[in-house]
Structure formats: structure tokens, C-alpha cells
């Protein structure tokens, strides 16, 4: 408990030191205000921006798109991973695709998706989904590989069907890996959604950031960037916490 507190304190101090340095550099004029506002200014702008409510739609759109993309990536990824794991040949065939997937700039397909689906939410969601799903498939395969064989035998002695085996034995046994996959899916999906809005969209946080950027509107751009970071970090640390609890329960961590 004591060490946990100290750790948290250290993290806060590092964050404060970093912001402090930025603050000093801005005040000294080393960073000029056209490039970046001082941190305290960004914070004030953020409060103002959230208070005004003028970006609520954009925020809601981006977050819900990212959430849909993440959920789809996780569900499709776990199901596909479980199926592929059962078919050795399919897995061997897809292995190369999976290992080179992240070398392919998925974002390059965005214009194509817009041609197909129009300038709706769908192309953004698809990009987020495509970014996240392969990470989930790969971690699912990895996790299922590590399920002890004795647990699969146990499932048979307990007369479990294929679905029951997955639900009661293999997926829970692979849960630490699945959570790792979920963490990646969140990050990749947010990146995918925001980046696609950056390229071409009618609304969303990515769109607002790029719009502000084009208009040298730092009072809007930086707070929005901070907001994206805050969301991403919050979701990730929640998942980390869950992961730690799970590991503790299984005796994998003190």
C-alpha cells in the first residue's frame, strides 16, 4: 500500500515537472505562443471549451465511434481468433497476413471506404475496427495456445460442449492475454477514428483539431489534443487496473 502511494506520487511529480518545464519555456519565449500556448493556458481553454458545450457533438461522435470500433474489434477478434485457433491449416495460411498487417497503412483505404459508405460515421468506425481487430485476433490465438492441456481434458471430463468449453474454460484461462488485446484495440481504434476524421470528415474531434490547426486556432487545438490523450489514458489505466486485479487473484503478481 505504502509503495503504491509513493509510486503514484512519483508519477504525479514527473508529470508536474514536465508541465513545469513547458510552462517555463513558454514564459521565457523559447516556445513562442503561435506554436504552443503555455500549459496553464491550455487547461483554462479546455475548461472554457468544455463549459461552452460547443464541442459536445464532436466529442460525442468521436467517442461513440471509437467505442463502437473497439467493441467490434474485440468481439469479432475474439470470435475469429477462437475459430482460427481450431483450424490449424487456416491459421498457418493467415499467419503471414497477421504478422504483416501493421505494416499496411490501413488509413490508406479511407478514401475507398468513403466512396463505398459515403461521408458517414461508418468509414471512421471501419478504420478503427481494422486497426484494432488484428491485434485482438493475434493475442487471442496467443492466449489460447497457453491454455494448459489439462484444462481442456477437464472440460471433456465435465461433459462440456464446444461453446461451454470456450465460455467456462479456454476464454477465462486466456483472459490475461485477451485483456492485453483489448488494451491494444482501444488505442488502435482511437488512433484510427481520430486520424480518419483528421483526413476527411464533417465533424468529430479529429476534424475539429485539424480545422483549428488550419486556422492557427491554438485555443481550440491544444485543449482538444489534451482531451484525446486524457480519454485514451483513462481507458487504458482502467484496463490496466482490471488486469492487475486479475493477475493478483491468480497469484501471478504480489
Amino acid at each position: 500500500m505504502h509503495t503504491r502511494w509513493r509510486l503514484t506520487l512519483a508519477r504525479v511529480l514527473i508529470l508536474l515537472a514536465f508541465t513545469g518545464i513547458l510552462e517555463i519555456l513558454c514564459a521565457a519565449g523559447t516556445i513562442d505562443p503561435l506554436t504552443m500556448q503555455p500549459p496553464h493556458r491550455i487547461l483554462l481553454d479546455l475548461v472554457h471549451l468544455l463549459g461552452s458545450g460547443s464541442f459536445n457533438r464532436a466529442i460525442a461522435r468521436t467517442l461513440s465511434n471509437a467505442m463502437i470500433a473497439t467493441s467490434m474489434a474485440i468481439i469479432v477478434g475474439v470470435v475469429a481468433g477462437s475459430l482460427i485457433h481450431r483450424i490449424r491449416g487456416l491459421r498457418d495460411a493467415l499467419d503471414l497476413l497477421f504478422s504483416t498487417w501493421y505494416a499496411v497503412p490501413v488509413l490508406a483505404f479511407y478514401p475507398l471506404l468513403i466512396v463505398i459508405f459515403g461521408l458517414t460515421n461508418l468509414p471512421s468506425i471501419m478504420i478503427g475496427f481494422m486497426q484494432g481487430v488484428v491485434a485482438v485476433i493475434v493475442t487471442t490465438l496467443d492466449g489460447l495456445d497457453r491454455v494448459p492441456r489439462v484444462l481442456r481434458k477437464l472440460a471433456r471430463t465435465q461433459h462440456m460442449t464446444t461453446l461451454e468449453t470456450a465460455w467456462l474454460i479456454t476464454l477465462p484461462a486466456a483472459a490475461p492475454w485477451l485483456l492485453g488485446g483489448a488494451k491494444l484495440a482501444v488505442v488502435f481504434s482511437i488512433i484510427g477514428v481520430v486520424a480518419s476524421e483528421f483526413l476527411m470528415a464533417r465533424e468529430g474531434m479529429g476534424f475539429e483539431i485539424s480545422y483549428a490547426y488550419n486556422n492557427f486556432d491554438n485555443a481550440r487545438m491544444y485543449p482538444l489534443i489534451v482531451l484525446v490523450i486524457v480519454f485514451s489514458v483513462t481507458v487504458n489505466s482502467l484496463l490496466l487496473r482490471w488486469e492487475a486485479r486479475l493477475a493478483r487473484r491468480r497469484g501471478l503478481k504480489p
Binding site: 484444462l151 481434458k153 487473484r249 497469484g251
Partner: protein
């Protein structure tokens, strides 16, 4: 239907198990047999044999987890074919507790398909918790328990299904000698109080000699049954049998049978 004492609970006839060669060449592995064996209803039966002689293979064949290349196995008169028959409970050598479920949750796993009411399930779970001395640990997770206690949870999870045949594959191999003897006593106690038939694989001769009514001694691979030793212990017995003079004689006989085979098995490795 429970077979009467005269007809065997399990019969194996001409059982042979050959594993195909591992991909990339090599010879097929003749692991077991041909082998005949009868398990009598209600007896405590042990199998000893040199390592790698096919004990686990025999175990999985009776459990219905593997299929023989040749021969037939029947449980209560019905052939076993690629499915674990109802009425057979299995305890593995490796720890098979589910680490994400509490002790109670692990045990309850065995009752999912029992068709019992909630209350009846609770009664049964309480019963095996008491039987296996796990009451205070019911809401613990396996990670909070010692290896011996985790193996007790696995036994409890099997017992709650009230099997007529309990198969144990070296369940105490990972435990220290003292714990092993005490766990042996617990299995004896369970055996007495449930009237189930017990089939125990072990590499410890003293364990086999102390617990069993009959002990099969297996040859080096391919595993065959060299001899079956009868102990004639009373049903009421515990580890104090170790002091009985006949205990020494039985252990010595087992070792005489096994010695050459163990050397053979060691040379083959």
C-alpha cells in the same frame, strides 16, 4: 445400474495403444498392451510401473479421453468410445483448478448438468467441503492455497458428482512425503464413505502398498501387466498400516517385480 460384485465394473480386453510417429519421421510408439484387466466393484486398485511405461495412457483410455487402437474397454458393461462415461470421475496429475474461480466455484462446476435444485447443489457442495476439509477455504482462490489443498479441491470437484469410479493419475506426485501420506488417508476415507471404486496410478510403492486392495505392476514400455498383488487389508485402515509387518513384505514384493523393469526403462531413455 450398479453392477453386482461378481461382474467387474471395468473390463479391458486386448487393449493396445500405438502412437503415430511424430511429424517429420521416426517410428510409431507402441505405448501399451496388449493388456487385459478387470476392476472389481468397490475395490481400491492401484497401478505402479516404471516411468514412461504407459500408465497415463491406460488412465486416459479408461477415462474415455483416448481411444485404443485395438481391444475393448467396458464400464458397467457398456463400451467406452471416445467420450467420458457418466459415473466416472477424473483427477489429473497436474493442477487442474480453475484459478479464476473460488474453491466453491470450482466444486460447483461439477454440478452444472446435475439437474439438482439450488438447495440440493448447496447441500452436496457443503458435504464435500466438509469431507475434504475445505470449509474455511470455500471462498478462497486457488492461488491462495498450497499444492496439497489445490489437489484436494480437484478431488472435491470430482466427488461432488458422486462418481461410481474415481480415477486418479499420480495426484500427489508433486507433494512432499508427509502430505502425500495424509492425502492418501483422505482418499481412503473418501473411498470408505462413498463406496466408489478407486483406480489410482502412483509411482510410490509405499503409497500403493498402504492404500490398495490390489496392485497391478506394469512392465517397461510397451506397458503390460506383470502381476497383480493382493494385500488383503481390512477396509478400515490408515497410514498406521506402515507398521504392519505384512506391509514390508508387500513393498518388497512390488520392488522385486519392478526392479528389472525400472532398469530396462532407464536404459531405454
Amino acid at each position: 445400474m450398479l453392477a453386482d460384485a461378481a461382474t467387474p465394473l471395468v473390463t479391458l480386453r486386448g487393449i493396445t495403444r500405438v502412437f503415430p510417429p511424430i511429424a517429420g519421421g521416426g517410428q510409431p510408439i507402441h505405448a501399451l498392451g496388449p493388456l487385459d484387466l478387470d476392476l472389481r466393484t468397490g475395490e481400491f486398485f492401484a497401478v505402479v510401473g516404471p516411468s514412461g511405461c504407459g500408465k497415463s495412457t491406460l488412465f486416459e483410455l479408461i477415462a474415455g479421453l483416448q481411444q485404443a487402437n485395438d481391444g475393448t474397454i467396458a464400464f458397467e458393461g457398456k463400451p467406452i468410445t471416445g467420450k467420458v462415461p457418466d459415473g466416472i470421475g477424473v483427477v489429473f496429475q497436474e493442477d487442474s483448478c480453475l484459478p479464476w474461480r473460488t474453491v466453491r466455484g470450482n466444486i460447483a462446476l461439477g454440478l452444472r448438468k446435475s439437474g439438482l435444485s439450488r438447495a440440493e447443489q448447496e447441500t452436496r457442495i457443503e458435504h464435500v467441503l466438509v469431507l475434504m476439509n475445505l470449509v474455511e477455504f470455500a471462498s478462497h482462490y486457488p492461488a491462495q492455497l498450497s499444492g496439497g489443498m489445490r489437489q484436494r479441491v480437484c478431488i472435491a470437484r470430482t466427488l461432488v458428482m458422486e462418481p461410481r469410479l474415481i480415477l486418479l493419475d499420480e495426484p500427489f506426485a508433486a507433494l512432499d512425503q508427509q502430505t502425500r501420506l495424509l492425502m492418501g488417508e483422505e482418499v481412503l476415507r473418501v473411498w470408505r464413505s462413498t463406496s466408489a471404486t478407486v483406480f489410482l496410478i502412483t509411482h510410490a510403492l509405499d503409497e500403493a502398498a498402504m492404500l490398495s486392495d490390489r496392485i497391478a505392476v506394469m512392465s517397461a514400455r510397451p506397458g503390460r501387466i506383470l502381476d497383480i498383488v493382493e494385500t488383503a487389508w481390512p477396509r478400515e485402515r490408515d497410514s498406521r498400516i506402515l507398521e504392519d509387518e505384512r506391509f514390508g513384505a508387500i513393498s518388497a514384493r512390488l520392488w522385486r517385480l519392478l526392479r528389472d523393469e525400472t532398469i530396462k526403462a532407464a536404459d531405454a531413455h
